[in-house]
């Protein structure tokens, strides 16, 4: 078996044995499933509120939720992928590379005729399979819940959209796992290796969108996109920060894929930005020099 496959298998085995990783995986799967139920309960209540408002003669406006897609209940999952999924992926990525440096197994591995790109790509492939499995499990159960709420199995079109959302989630999470791998390779301390990607994630998820749209940090945790400020300063700044706000691009593309009535337009540009991020991160990790991989930790 070649280096790539051995490394991939080894990574999957290690993740299976890591109890702390299990906590995050279980929380992620649980929350994605719970999000469907939360979405359904909330939608039922809001429909009740609207009916009451109409019965009291307080409005003649149409029901903003009339005819929403059954996938509407999945919109909270977008946030959980961003919050729990991204942090889980970062932890997995950091552990993958720090583990080798901490236990000095990397010295043993690299004493063999092993190409570093094959080793790193193998580790990445192992993580990518784990992430795909987690996404696959959580979204399969969600599909089942949507079908139960809907009273019938989801059609091919909606099922395709759930799969597309799963693929997009996989792209985002694998990118964050790569960020974790990178800091795991480059940091001198394990704490720094974990913390730096968290800070980068915070900057991408909260600071960049705020600079470009004046959205408040907490409002960015709501699946409904914040109303962006426009004109003057914001038109100029959002042209630069918008493409870099990867989490907002993910929210936008996912909302379009899941047919959220609050988001319109094409998802193509957002998907391309996320794919470009994945490719760039892969290249940056794979070109890590051999001596960097072998450097010890200071703690």
């Amino acid at each position: 078996m070649n280096t790539f496959l051995v490394s991939a298998r080894h990574e999957m085995l290690n993740t299976r044995r890591a109890r702390t990783a299990h906590i995050l995986l279980i929380v992620f799967i649980g929350m994605v499933i719970a999000s469907s139920v939360i979405g359904w309960v909330t939608n039922q209540t809001v429909t009740g509120v609207y009916n009451k408002v109409v019965a009291d003669g307080l409005t003649t406006a149409p029901n903003p939720f009339a005819g929403v897609s059954p996938l509407y209940y999945a919109r909270n999952a977008v946030i959980y992928v961003l919050l729990i999924g991204s942090l889980m992926a970062i932890v997995l990525g950091v552990q993958a590379t720090v583990r080798d440096r901490k236990a000095s197994t990397v010295d043993l591995v690299l004493s063999r005729p092993v190409a570093t790109p094959a080793r790193l790509l193998g580790q990445l492939a192992g993580l990518a399979v784990v992430l795909a499995a987690v996404i696959g499990i959580s979204f399969s159960v969600s599909w089942l819940i949507f079908s139960i709420i809907n009273g019938a199995p989801l059609g091919w079109g909606d099922t395709g959209r759930v799969i597309a959302f799963g693929l997009l989630s996989w792209v985002l999470l694998t990118s964050f796992a790569l960020l974790g791998m990178l800091t795991g390779l480059r940091s001198k301390q394990q704490t720094t290796a974990l913390l730096v990607p968290f800070v980068i994630w915070s900057a991408v998820a909260f600071v960049l969108p705020q600079i470009g749209t004046a959205a408040r940090p907490v409002s960015l945790l709501n699946p409904v996109p914040a109303l962006a400020s426009t004109g003057g300063y914001f038109d100029v700044v959002s042209a630069f920060t918008g493409p870099l706000s990867l989490t907002e691009q993910f929210k936008r593309a996912s909302s379009i894929i899941l047919q959220d009535p609050n988001v319109t337009g094409e998802a193509t540009s957002s998907i391309l930005i996320l794919l470009a991020f994945l490719v760039i991160m892969t290249v940056v990790v794979v070109v890590t020099p051999r001596n960097r991989m072998r450097s010890g930790l200071n703690e």
């Binding site: 209540t45 909270n76 974990l194 914040a226 609050n262």
Partner: protein, 323 residues
């Protein structure tokens, strides 16, 4: 000098030399300042749009312009409070974890335990050290944001505004001490150091991000951009009357929110700063009358967290095998 204060002084010295600490606090300060600047820019954009609209109205012969947008300077701090509640808590966890982890990694723990220090001196010294650090950090952030309101926001502040800012700073300090103490306790109890950090982060994820997010998501008014009731053109009194019919749902939603210490911090800060419209320009006594319950729970939770840190950081737990 008591051994508790010696350990606290050592913490202060360690953190003064810690580059990671400087980077984290620098990041928090920049994010907070950016939030004030962005809020001020958003207000100016709104004002420009208003002036343009008034000009157009005047040109068309209308003599009844709509009400001019009004700037309440302390409302510029909303983003900063939210950064403290999310990132501040995360960084507080990292500092709490670091204060225990470094002793194990550096091997200084054995040296420390070989000295005649009291049962509670080490954890109490560490909590005290971090409390002093957060006091300094909050004081610096408060000063910076106050200056930012005056300079970037170009907004005047009254004496009462400074008192409100000071109260919010005290609330922030108590909140940050809560998270640092919790992380100390969890790290001391964890057999593996990395487990301590990850478990603390999972707790942060649950109580800072997930639970408040679920509460926000379940809010009927958050279902449509701009607000459900605003979209349906429903006035506030009618909104309250309608929502009274869904008291059970709202009770569950609010129960979820208040189970998170973060919401207590947020509601207290928003009330005293007048960020929440209901409390804007309200005398402090009336705000306190409405908010004292949240102040008590935040203080009690912090006291419990400090007790947990001091109780869990025993010699036996600290001397567990390092892995």
């Amino acid at each position: 000098m008591s051994s508790t204060w010696v350990i606290a002084s050592k913490e202060l010295l360690d953190l003064r030399r810690d580059r990671l600490f400087a980077v984290l606090i620098g990041f928090l300060a920049i994010a907070t300042l950016i939030s004030v600047g962005v809020a001020a820019a958003a207000f100016r954009t709104e004002l420009d749009a208003y002036n343009l609209y008034v000009q157009q109205l005047a040109a068309s012969g209308s003599t009844t312009p709509p009400a001019e947008p009004q700037l309440f300077p302390l409302q510029l701090l909303r983003g900063g409070v939210e950064y403290l509640e999310i990132l501040g808590a995360l960084f507080a966890i990292v500092l709490g974890y670091g204060t225990v982890a470094k002793e194990k990694y550096r091997g200084t723990l054995q040296l420390l335990l070989s000295r005649p220090v009291g049962r509670f001196a080490i954890p109490a010294g560490k909590v005290l050290g971090l409390a002093v650090v957060w006091l300094v950090v909050v004081a610096v952030l408060t000063l910076l944001t106050t200056l930012a309101i005056l300079v970037i926001g170009n907004a005047p502040l009254q004496g009462i505004d400074l008192v409100r800012i000071l109260i919010a700073a005290v609330v922030a300090w108590v909140y940050l001490v809560f998270w640092s103490s919790l992380a100390i306790g969890i790290t001391a109890l964890s057999p593996r150091l990395s487990t301590g950090l990850i478990v603390s982060i999972v707790v942060w994820l649950a109580f800072v991000l997930i639970i408040p997010q679920i509460g926000d998501t379940m809010d009927p008014d958050n279902q449509v951009p701009g607000g459900l009731f605003a979209t349906l053109q429903i006035q506030k009194p009618d909104e309250l009357k309608v929502l009274a019919n869904f008291a059970a749902f709202d009770g569950i939603r609010n129960g979820l929110e208040v189970s998170s210490i973060t919401k207590h911090f947020e509601r207290l800060s928003f009330a005293f700063l007048g960020i929440k419209d209901k409390y804007n320009q309200l005398p402090l006594g009336l705000v306190w009358a409405d908010m004292w319950g949240y102040a008590i729970t935040l203080a009690a939770a912090t006291l419990a967290s400090v007790t947990f840190a001091v109780g869990a950081t025993t010699r036996r737990n600290l001397q567990r095998k390092i892995s």
